[in-house]
């Protein structure tokens, strides 16, 4: 998409089309000849996995929508009847409902990957911002979708979340009525949630396009985190196809195996049994919990005694992710060369997992049963309430204190000047392979070869193969 195109139309039709709508060129430059760092590890396969998952959700979703009835009296039964009376309906529905969980697993890994390797730093801030928008849209889409089967958790979860808007001072009440289409969650709410749930995945698809466009301007980050200078492109990159189509392809299939284990052998393991009880506004479930992927945010919401304060904290927890490129002051991208930052990174991973766990517990339950403590303000010290508060602080401190200060204080390890230096140092005895890329790189000494010329970098390794 960026840089100059290497596509050469061959057939008459390709030439004809290329002069009118260079769409084959676009695809070729973006997915075939796109120069990709050759040291990407498997954490880089999750973008491809996410693309496959988005397509899967859209295809299964459109088929579900053909059979689904967005009406409070029929929604629950229509979903169940999809599973018994539509050919392979059980498979379509279980793929879609588990697909949402898979989407979040892949998204979280994808985001942690970016965090670890500093993929949000210049010149990739816009990629990161678009990714944050995608995350936000994904949360909204999944929340709306979860309401559609109109089970007990659908209904009461929707009630809890929409009521948050009612906590906004002055205008909250009117906005809430406007959003719900009435004074309570009812049929108008369900119809609009369905309309929006159908719409948002296509917005996501549009933003994915921008995300990839923005990616193809500076090119991929990589585990070493250094930029690849134009003149080393030939040596340090490989064309996307076949190198990364095959590597991503392998990772996608492995991911699909894990996905299939859920769909075919444990399709309800990630859900909540109460959602198989038809919605009943008069009976509130004992514990209202969102799906697992929203638990960390739900925990932070409940940690604040004031309802509106909780809403602010919850939105702030997502807003800080947007601000990340300007919060991290370090010049070094990859945590490989930031020993202290690396430890804080893992502490942050644990923080989010603990928050997720807290989100599924009752706030006033003791963390260590049987240990008597004292009451601190509004709750026992030994309670999930205070554990959540501690970890909420740690969550925000990571972004607002650790990353800004650490970049100024930490002494990073020496960063290799190019990605080939570390690559070749552990390539071992398989024979001076760097030569295939034009430059002479023996012994880790970099003598750049010719500038990036696209084709030779494709041809040479293939010829040797």
């Amino acid at each position: 998409m960026s840089g100059h195109s290497t596509y050469i139309p061959k057939s008459g039709f390709e030439k004809w089309l290329d002069a009118r709508l260079p769409i084959i060129r676009l695809g070729y430059d973006a997915m075939v000849d796109y120069p990709t760092p050759r040291n990407l590890n498997y954490w880089w396969t999750f973008g491809g996995i996410l693309t496959v998952l988005l397509l899967t959700q859209i295809v299964t979703g459109v088929v579900l929508a053909m059979h689904y009835t967005a009406h409070v009296d029929h929604a629950f039964a229509s979903v169940e009847r999809i599973m018994r009376d539509v050919n392979y309906g059980w498979m379509i529905r279980y793929i879609h409902s588990n697909g949402a969980s898979m989407f979040f697993i892949a998204t979280y890994i994808h985001m942690f990957r970016g965090l670890y390797y500093g993929s949000y730093k210049a010149p990739r801030e816009v990629i990161w911002l678009l990714g944050c928008i995608l995350f936000f849209l994904l949360i909204a889409t999944a929340f709306l979708g979860y309401v559609l089967p109109w089970g007990q958790m659908s209904f009461h979860g929707a009630a809890v979340i929409t009521n948050l808007i009612g906590a906004v001072p002055v205008v909250g009440g009117s906005i809430l009525t406007w959003l719900q289409g009435g004074f309570a969650i009812d049929n108008p709410t369900l119809s609009r949630f369905f309309a929006l749930h159908y719409l948002m995945p296509f917005m996501i698809a549009g933003v994915v396009g921008l995300h990839i466009w923005a990616l193809h301007v500076p090119g991929n980050n990589n585990p070493v985190g250094v930029l690849i200078p134009q003149d080393l492109q030939r040596r340090d990159t490989v064309p996307f196809h076949p190198y990364y189509t095959v590597k991503d392809g392998f990772a996608i299939i492995v991911f699909l195996i894990m996905f299939s284990v859920f769909v075919f052998f444990n399709p309800n393991a990630l859900g909540h049994a109460d959602n198989y009880i038809p919605a009943n506004p008069l009976v509130t479930p004992a514990h209202i919990v969102p799906e697992w992927y929203l638990l960390p945010f739900y925990a932070m919401l409940r940690a604040v005694p004031d309802k509106f304060g909780g809403v602010i904290v919850m939105f702030a927890s997502i807003a800080v992710i947007f601000a990340l490129p300007w919060l991290d002051t370090s010049k070094v991208r990859s945590n490989r060369y930031r020993p202290v930052a690396k430890q804080f990174f893992w502490l942050f991973v644990v923080t989010t997992l603990v928050l997720g766990y807290c989100g599924g517990q009752l706030p006033d339950q003791p963390v260590i049963p049987g240990v008597e403590t004292f009451t601190l303000f509004d709750g026992q010290l030994n309670s999930y309430l205070w554990l959540t508060r501690l970890f909420t602080l740690m969550y925000f401190a990571y972004f607002l204190v650790v990353l800004p200060l650490l970049g100024l204080k930490e002494t990073p390890l020496p960063v290799p000047p190019t990605i080939s230096a570390p690559v070749l140092s552990h390539a071992g005895g398989d024979g001076g392979d760097g030569g295939a890329y034009g430059g002479s790189t023996h012994g880790g000494v970099v003598k750049p070869g010719a500038g990036y010329a696209g084709r030779p970098a494709v041809a040479e390794p293939e010829r040797r193969g």
């Binding site: 050759r38 392809g249 299939s260 919990v289 697992w292 690559v423 193969g465």
Partner: protein
Amino acid sequence: MRKLITAVAAAVACLTAAPALAAGGAEHPKDVKYSFEGPFGRFDQAQLQRGFKVYQEVCASCHSTNLVAYRHLAMRNAPFWDENYPNPNESPYARTIAAAAQIPDIDSETGDAILRPGTVADRIPNPYPNEAAARGANGGALPPDLSVITKARHGGADYIYSLLIGYPNPPRGLTVPAGQYYNKYYAGDLSSYWAPAGVDPEEAHESVPKGGFLAMPPPLREGQVTFDDGTPSTVNNMARDVGAYLQWVTEPKLIERKQTGLAVIIYLTLFAGLVYASYRRIWRNVAH
């Protein structure tokens, strides 16, 4: 790669463990060794037929299964599947069972409300004309529709079995309200009904029995149903078999799902192997 898989598996395990809340104050359901469990599980057709009989003769007088039509009973893997009748609508079993039912309808000539014999397309009728009637007949409680019951309760079929055999005599000191029955496996909080003799009320909360009260009287009695295959109709057998039947009612495609799953996983594994081999070959001469 192994590191990656372990990491993903660990993440999934941590995250899925999170929403699992403590089960509350009920006894953990007893584990029944059902034939449909595990990746190679199959329904035991004789057991489904016995379970259907218990359901029809006992449970159906209070509960509905609105999603089940008579033709479903003769689908593949269903209680009355017969390979001589691949089209369930032509199954003599489904037809006979349907014809024995009286379905409320409207006479198309006069518009009067009538009862007519069922057809395979009919759904198993609701025992009560409406919710108020159902509550009226059950002391104010509504017997839930059982169409998806094993998915709607932790423990699934094991829970159904346990619930049905779980009516012991209430422990001394427990006051059971009128129209309610004590069940060990039913989730509830009995602390305000618990006053054991000779125990300081302050301490009593430490010995509150597990379980809860529900409005369903113990539905099964020894010998209540006569099984055609000679299986003794003990409470235990009837509870186990109706549990299996309700598992089929909840997930009629369970076996098809697992069989498809095995094929999918074998296919994907072979495909993964093939793609991995291509990956190794393509990257053979590239340091990375």
